[in-house]
């Protein structure tokens, strides 16, 4: 569907926040769901849409916000678009995160831009979940500061170079804070998700991960974005995910291809 860009600004070096007008259906999406986006006028190159988690549901503004890093051709083109430009947005797609059981502590564990689907979880929970935000340097985490203020969420920051918050990764910070019975929602690099899976077995907490894979259609049509499921069948990340209980995936069959 056609939408308008309301704002598109660099919130930290290399990290952009894009706000686009949203339909009611899109605003009813669940945290963890995603959208497929392409700029109007891209013609056939770039051809495919790009997938982005919904970062914030801006219900008052009838808009959703997306967080992205300008790394490839599509995201670089996106970063050059301006308020008022037309954009084509398909969504909400995928399954989203489940509701949290009442009375259990939840931890949102993010690696860099992997925080994207987690901020909307924090928003939906009215700030009751704790966010553990990790990155290589302060630049990888600083765009979250404004969400922390607006939403009043508790955040533990960790940087690998120690430039802000605790020295270390979001995993090392999580180890200090998690206890059996917690529920962990995680999104970030594959290496980090592997650790979440291992620790949830060792420490006895429930974990859901938002899994990332290169996507073709985002709607289950092409079978391009699969991940091996625990039952020995490839699961479509776009349709069966992107959120999986860690036990639904066959981690030994998941290769590090990046």
């Amino acid at each position: 569907m056609k939408a308008k860009i309301l704002s598109n600004r660099e919130a930290a070096p290399g990290y952009f926040r894009l706000a686009v007008s949203a339909t009611e259906a899109l605003l009813r999406g669940r945290p963890g769901q995603f959208v497929m986006v392409r700029g109007e006028g891209w013609e056939t190159d770039p051809l495919l849409r790009r997938p982005f988690s919904i970062y914030r549901f801006r219900k008052g503004m009838e808009a959703v916000e997306i967080l992205y890093r300008a790394v490839g051709r599509g995201t670089r083109l996106l970063s050059q678009m301006k308020a008022g430009d037309a954009i084509d947005i398909l969504g909400p797609l995928g399954n989203g995160f489940p509701d949290l059981p009442e009375g259990r502590r939840s931890l949102l564990v993010a690696g860099g831009a992997g925080v994207a689907p987690l901020i909307s979880v924090a928003e939906a929970k009215g700030g009751s979940a704790r966010l553990i935000m990790g990155g290589k340097t302060k630049d990888d985490i600083s765009y979250v500061f404004e969400d922390e203020r607006e939403l009043g969420i508790d955040v533990t920051y960790a940087t690998e170079d120690g430039s802000f918050g605790k020295m270390g990764t979001s995993i090392s910070a999580m180890k200090e804070e998690a206890s059996p019975g917690d529920t962990v929602f995680a999104c970030g690099p594959l290496k980090m998700l592997r650790e979440v899976e291992r620790l949830s077995r060792e420490m006895g907490f429930t974990s859901y991960v938002s899994y990332e894979e290169r996507m073709g259609c985002g709607t289950g049509l092409c079978f391009g974005c699969v991940v091996m499921g625990a039952g020995g069948e490839y699961q479509r990340v776009c349709k069966d995910g992107p959120v999986f209980d860690v036990n639904e995936l066959s981690w030994k069959d998941i290769e590090d291809i990046d």
Binding site: L47, L48, L90, T219, F223, V226
Partner: protein, 305 residues
Amino acid sequence: MVDLSVNMFGIDFKNPVFAASGTAGYGIELVHYIDLEKIGALITKGVSPKPKSGNPQPRIIETPSGILNSIGLQNIGVKRLIDEVLPELEKYDTSVIVNIFGDDIDGYINVAGAFLNEDRVDALEVNLSCPNVKEGGIAFGRDPKISAEITSAVVEASQKPVIAKLTPNVTDIAPIAKAVEEAGAAAVSVVNTLLGMAVDVETRRPYFKNVTAGLSGPAIRPVALRFVWETARAVKIPVIGIGGITSGKDALEFIMAGAAAVQVGSANLVDPGVISNVIDEIEDYCTKNGISDLKEIRGIIKEEI
């Protein structure tokens, strides 16, 4: 009033714009985005006698105006297609064509035979040409004799109209098209993906584990159009044109080159509602140009050569 309906091999299709196999899932995925009853026909993802897990990641990469894929024919197998998918499609008044393949001739016969009493299925499309599997695949489709042998075996086993889907990865498509026509194919689909490849210059490795992959999308349209034109001149059975169609204008090019119908493939992945636009644009063109039946322009370019 423009009548876009086409009759091919005794079946009336509402219009000549079909959803190509492999880009429409099992059809069930598409119903959230498009009125299935509007499209000319749905061609479901290829099924084999047994479920197939397909290739490991990576499976897909974008190229200039195109897509390289190495899905590897992942599918739920013919039994689950019949038990789970066909009853769902029963709810929609739409033509259903099932794409089938096997590892060997017995496999093709086995999967085709499963549809003998499935009235919901209007026709079978035989994949003679997947570039992304080791067994059979493209090697079958390059050989007129094997292509003909598979085609006649499928016709006999299924008792349904059989559309042979041909590979573009040959020097000359005409002998293969003629061979499957003689073997009893009701139509030919032209073309499947073009063999391509991509290299990761950082790792200095081929991007895909199978090295080569199938190229589709607007990048291949001129090549596909040429194959359709060559095929339409070689056979009397209907030619269904496929290759990078994203608009009504694209579809009309194929029809003017001799296609009786077209399939929209990669464009569904970009916009799952695109077939609806393609149909509307063809209708607009016909209205503006006083065309009441697409037969008036089918293969029209042949007149001038």
